[in-house]
């Protein structure tokens, strides 16, 4: 019981600061009479988050699916590419220049093209998110697979173990912590990608809500959408964090 209490105590400073900031924000807005279209009060933001003036659930689902899709495409694609790079030096030499090129490209600039090719809808938004998020997964997967103790490989060589077995038994589990820490980056990148896609062109989603509420000066609504986006982002990030604790508990101490 005391352990749980101590843990709760760890959260106290952050919680205290949060509450203090919200109270100050609320007071500043009411005391100085800041107009709502410039900065809505926390109370009106919360009010707008649950107001029935727009179909929140619909928009949250559209953006949520885009984020999840982006994340999964980036994760699966990244892990596959990273594995190919680690498996074959020839493939590594062939692929790396392209990957570096894609990485330095400002992905946001490609968004209009994706819309041009794929039309409106959720798919281009997913792909933009995936494009932003996949590079760290590729690199970390390859590094995790290749960065291994030479002695550990000798262990496999002594028994003439086939390459796939060394991958399955030693290299892949060794790469888990690397992959999972990349997936945490990808989780945030997927959110950015999905929202950018919705900014460029869309008829639904939280990014769409922000754009339309800006043009109609409905700032509380924009803030409400912002909070919902953060909630989605936190949920995905939290899911990855839990996954990494389950799959690679030995890495937790190292990461801190």
């Amino acid at each position: 019981m005391t352990k749980a209490f101590d843990k709760a105590l760890d959260w106290l400073p952050a919680l205290g600061l949060f509450v203090a900031l919200v109270v100050m924000w609320q007071l500043a807005v009411t005391q100085f009479g800041v107009r709502e279209y410039l900065l809505p009060s926390p109370a009106s933001v919360v009010g707008s988050m649950f107001s029935s003036e727009i179909n929140w659930i619909g928009h949250i689902l559209v953006t949520g699916w885009a984020i999840l899709g982006a994340f999964l495409i980036a994760a699966v694609g990244g892990i596959l590419l990273g594995t190919i790079i680690a498996w074959s030096p020839v493939m590594s030499r062939a692929l790396m220049p392209f990957l570096v090129f894609v990485n330095v490209l400002p992905k946001v600039a490609v968004a209009p093209l994706f819309l041009l090719w794929l039309g409106y809808g959720i798919l281009p938004n997913m792909l933009i998110g995936a494009l932003i998020g996949f590079f760290p997964v590729v690199i970390n997967t390859a590094v995790g697979l290749l960065q291994i103790d030479e002695d550990m490989l000798d262990l496999g060589r002594v028994f003439n173990a086939p390459k796939w077995k060394v991958f399955a038994k030693i290299r892949i589990p060794n790469a888990y912590p690397y992959i999972l820490s990349a997936l945490k980056i990808t989780a945030t990148a997927a959110v950015v990608g999905a929202i950018v896609g919705e900014f460029v062109a869309s008829q639904a989603g939280l990014g769409y809500v922000i754009i339309t509420s800006q043009s109609s000066m409905n700032t509380p609504l924009a803030f409400g959408a912002l909070v919902w986006i953060s909630v989605l982002g936190l949920l995905l990030y939290g899911a990855v964090a839990v996954l990494s604790r389950v799959i690679a508990p030995w890495a937790e101490n190292q990461e801190g």
Binding site: D154, L155, G156, F159, N160, K165, K169, P173, A248, W250
Partner: protein, 270 residues
């Protein structure tokens, strides 16, 4: 006595960016079955490389290596290896780490479960089978590594400074432990032949039937010392006059080999 290992004028040169480096030169040595050989020498004398050449993990550039009469040209499954770091798989339990060689060799690990538990019992880790490596001390981790090396009952055990990273007291314990296991763990095929690399002279003398003293750059055999101390060896063995004489003799051989820069590392050897 039958020879398990025969090294005949083994040499190894490897290429580096700054030209070829001669790691081993003209190494000839015959090791009998069930013999315990320590190899001692300064850092960079190629003693670790020699172990890997014998295991077929690194190619030699001249000479021949025979293990059980067969020429070694690629990795041979007759060896168990223990390294300076325990190199356990952090995601596996102690028992599953010990079973790894069976899986890598394409054997059914279930058939080796009993033997794995038996080995862990032998080194006093029967209560730790389900623990993860990071829950174990350094000495315990090396015991697990030793069990792993013994799992498939290899006739030859190659140990590369296995206790070099342990504190002095744990190290002395592990030396006794190793001799005890070596005496007991015959696996039905007789005593294992052990090649034990170390840079500690007392450790080399305490363990071995013969100590191979190597010099550095290129790695050559400077001397082979027969250690005629009674077995089983105990804590008291270290206090005997003979033990001191052997240690001094090897120390002098090693320091005699060294000049200039190397004299500093000679002091660390004592």
């Amino acid at each position: 006595m039958k020879n398990t290992i025969e090294l005949d004028r083994v040499g190894m040169v490897y290429e580096t960016a700054s030209g070829p480096v001669e790691a081993l030169r003209n190494i000839s040595l015959a090791v009998g079955e069930g013999e315990f050989i320590s190899i001692v020498g300064p850092s960079g004398c190629g003693k670790s490389t020699l172990l890997r050449v014998i295991a077929g993990l690194r190619p030699m550039t001249s000479g021949t290596v025979l293990v059980d009469g067969t020429s070694v040209t690629r990795p041979i499954p007759k060896v168990g290896m223990v390294f300076q770091a325990a190199v356990l798989l952090k995601w596996r339990s102690v028992l599953d780490n010990v079973l790894l060689p069976a899986e890598l060799a394409g054997l059914n690990p279930h058939k080796f479960r009993e033997r794995a538990i038996e080995l862990l019992h032998l080194v006093g880790l029967e209560g730790f089978t389900g623990k993860k490596p990071n829950e174990l001390s350094g000495g315990m981790q090396q015991r697990v590594a030793l069990c792993r090396a013994l799992l498939l009952d290899p006739p030859l055990l190659l140990m590369d400074e296995p206790f070099g990273a342990l504190d002095a007291m744990t190290r002395d314990d592990m030396n006794l432990e190793l001799l005890r296991v070596w005496g007991q763990e015959t696996g039905g095929t007789g005593r294992k032949t052990i090649l034990f690399v170390t840079h500690s002279i007392p450790e080399a003398v305490f363990l071995a039937d013969r100590v191979v003293v190597m010099s550095a750059r290129p790695g050559e055999i400077a001397d082979v010392v027969n250690i005629e101390l009674d077995r089983p060896r105990t804590v008291e063995t270290r206090a005997t006059a003979d033990f001191g004489h052997y240690s001094l003799q090897i120390y002098e051989t090693l320091t005699g080999q060294m000049t200039g820069d190397n004299s500093r590392s000679a002091q660390t050897l004592s």
